[in-house]
């Protein structure tokens, strides 16, 4: 396998080149600009067969994606922050029309105040729109997950759109060692794109996006909920097959030294990598520390989360966003809900951290672990914020 030095953005663009989608419609926004900028160069250089639609806004980008996907095309795009929010009128339409669009999302704070750096507010804001959401710890995971996401969303049991995210600048602009697959291998891995319910199939005319009121709307929403439930198995199957073929297995979540852990964190994205170093240190000191790294946020793997957290005494859920609900961050409320029926309930606290790219370093994570001893369940901490 080729070994390359690539940033998160370059890794995602490389995956897109190898996928060679039929249509990419995109509008640039920092820190995701490079994903589509690099990809547009592949188009200009004739390395892909993609029809690149340079639109005038993200709203149009997602609209063009839905149109192209409705015609039966394999479609991709990329965006971040306000760009994702400008798409948000069309995002639920993409999922309701069951279009398997794949979006490379670079996590960035929401305005305002204006901030270009990493947090998960943008992705969390669209978490209930029927899109699958996979978070990446590093550039390698971003590359692997973009390839897998194509397989996942095109599975007939799923047929929902999906986004793969990296942490803005921390991963999107950090060059690391990645292993890629050969171009031909990616082609074999993904297989032929099968058109389904194409609006261009004149032998089977269909209507998409029509008015659907009290009589049938509910029945058309229900299969989306079912698809999201079934997506869990598909994500797991695709991740395991990827591991069997290429040596890097993926699941819904990853346990890091969690099995016998007494104190643990739950986290997503790049912070998990930094936390590994702290957990290793604590283990050397005889402290039974561990981590649940959540890879898949939608569908939320509640049963799996509850199962692996069951025996842990004290857990801090790290949220890199705040839902401003007065009840803690979105990851925390999901984890707390997942543990409602657990026989032994851990002490569960919430650390909202790193908003707007605020640094989270080894010392910060050491502090979060050490505070677990005295935390009351239900405690919500705005970590490191100045008064």
């Amino acid at each position: 396998m080729p070994v390359l030095a690539r940033t998160g953005n370059e890794a995602m663009a490389e995956a897109m080149r190898q996928i060679n989608p039929d249509v990419v419609a995109a509008y640039p926004i920092s820190p995701a600009t490079e994903v589509v900028m690099i990809f547009s160069k592949f188009v200009a250089d004739g390395l892909v067969d993609t029809e690149f639609v340079a639109v005038e806004s993200e709203h149009s980008a997602m609209s063009a994606c839905v149109g192209a996907a409705s015609a039966g095309c394999r479609v991709m795009t990329g965006t971040s922050s306000q760009g994702l929010q400008l798409m948000s009128e069309i995002l639920p339409i993409a999922s309701a029309l069951r279009q398997p669009i794949v979006l490379c999302e670079v996590n960035r704070a929401l305005s305002g105040p204006i901030n270009i750096h990493c947090d998960h507010s943008d992705t969390m804001a669209v978490r209930d729109f029927g899109w699958l959401q996979i978070f990446s710890e590093n550039a390698q995971e971003a590359y692997d997950s973009v390839l897998q996401m194509i397989k996942i969303v095109e599975d007939v049991k799923v047929r929902l759109p999906g986004m793969v995210t990296t942490d803005g600048f921390i991963i999107s602009h950090c060059m690391e060692k990645i292993e890629t697959l050969e171009d031909a291998e990616v082609k074999t891995y993904l297989g032929e794109h099968k058109k389904m319910n194409s609006t261009l199939d004149l032998t089977k005319p269909i209507t998409l996006g029509s008015l659907d009121l009290q009589d049938y709307y509910f029945e058309h929403r229900m299969p989306m909920a079912q698809a999201m439930i079934e997506a869990k198995e598909v994500i797991l199957k695709v991740g395991q097959e990827f591991g069997a073929k290429y040596g890097r297995p993926y699941g819904l979540l990853e346990k890091y030294k969690l099995d016998d852990a007494e104190v643990a964190i739950v986290a997503m994205g790049s912070t998990c990598g930094t936390a590994r170093v702290v957990i290793d240190e604590l283990r050397e000191k005889g402290i039974k520390a561990g981590m649940l790294k959540l890879r898949v946020f939608r569908p939320f793997p509640a049963a799996e989360v509850a199962e692996v957290l069951a025996g842990v005494k004290s857990i801090a859920v790290l949220d890199r966003s705040d839902s401003l609900s007065s009840q803690g961050g979105p990851l925390y409320t999901e984890v707390r809900s997942a543990l409602y029926d657990a026989k032994t309930k851990p002490v569960l606290s919430n650390y909202i951290y790193g908003l707007g790219g605020r640094e989270i370093n080894l010392e910060d994570l050491r502090q979060i672990f050490s505070e677990q001893k005295s935390n009351q369940s239900g405690k919500i901490v705005y970590f490191g914020v100045r008064e």
């Binding site: 060059m175 690391e176 060692k177 590994r276 370093n361």
Partner: protein, 193 residues
């Protein structure tokens, strides 16, 4: 942590601090190492102080926070020393490499530095002579390779030449100058006593 080499580059916007970090990491990767290279992001202005960073290790690097205690600091522009604390967090046994015509002893005195090792190399002069422009980042790569002693020099030169050939496919004339500049800096970087 001790097995990860952390490097901080100081430069001014446009001097190539980011490119230098990328090239150094890419060369290390080619020699079988795990690497990270990342710039500090903020408003990008030509001439403003900027930083970029490297991590190099024999084992996978999972840490993704900033670098605050570098083992090596590389200063592309000596005028930065007046306004930026370039030795901030430098490890006790660390090294600082400055692009200057001055001696390491003079730089140590200017910085008031009590720890570590000081190296100097006249990268601007080398760049002007070999490349024709004052772009000190590539010669500083040579000096860093010497001081860090983590990469095999001939392999590093070979790899960097290939990378430059790709990057400057439309300007082949500048590749030879850059390679000569790296070699000269490698040979002429001065330590203390």
């Amino acid at each position: 942590m001790s097995e990860i080499l952390e490097i901080r580059w100081h430069g001014r916007g446009g001097q190539g601090a980011k490119t230098a970090a990328l090239l150094f990491a890419d060369a290390a990767l080619s020699l079988g190492m795990y690497i990270q290279a990342f710039p500090e992001y903020g408003p990008e202005r030509m001439g403003a102080p900027v930083q970029s960073f490297n991590r190099l290790a024999k084992n996978p690097i999972t840490i993704h926070c900033g670098i605050t205690s570098p083992k090596i600091v590389v200063v592309l522009d000596p005028t930065l020393m007046a306004s930026v604390d370039v030795t901030s967090g430098l490890l006790e046994n660390g090294s600082i490499i400055v692009n200057t015509s001055k001696s390491p002893a003079e730089i140590r005195a200017e910085l008031g530095l009590k720890k570590g090792k000081v190296y100097t190399v006249d990268a601007s002069k080398i760049a002007t002579e070999k490349i024709g422009r004052n772009i000190p980042n590539t010669p500083m790569l040579g000096a860093l390779t010497k001081v860090s002693a983590i990469l095999d020099f001939s392999a590093m030169i070979k790899d960097t030449e290939e990378k430059l050939k790709k990057k400057f496919a439309h300007k082949p004339e500048i590749i030879k100058g850059n390679i000569e500049a790296i070699k000269t800096a490698y040979e002429t970087v001065k330590g203390e006593g």
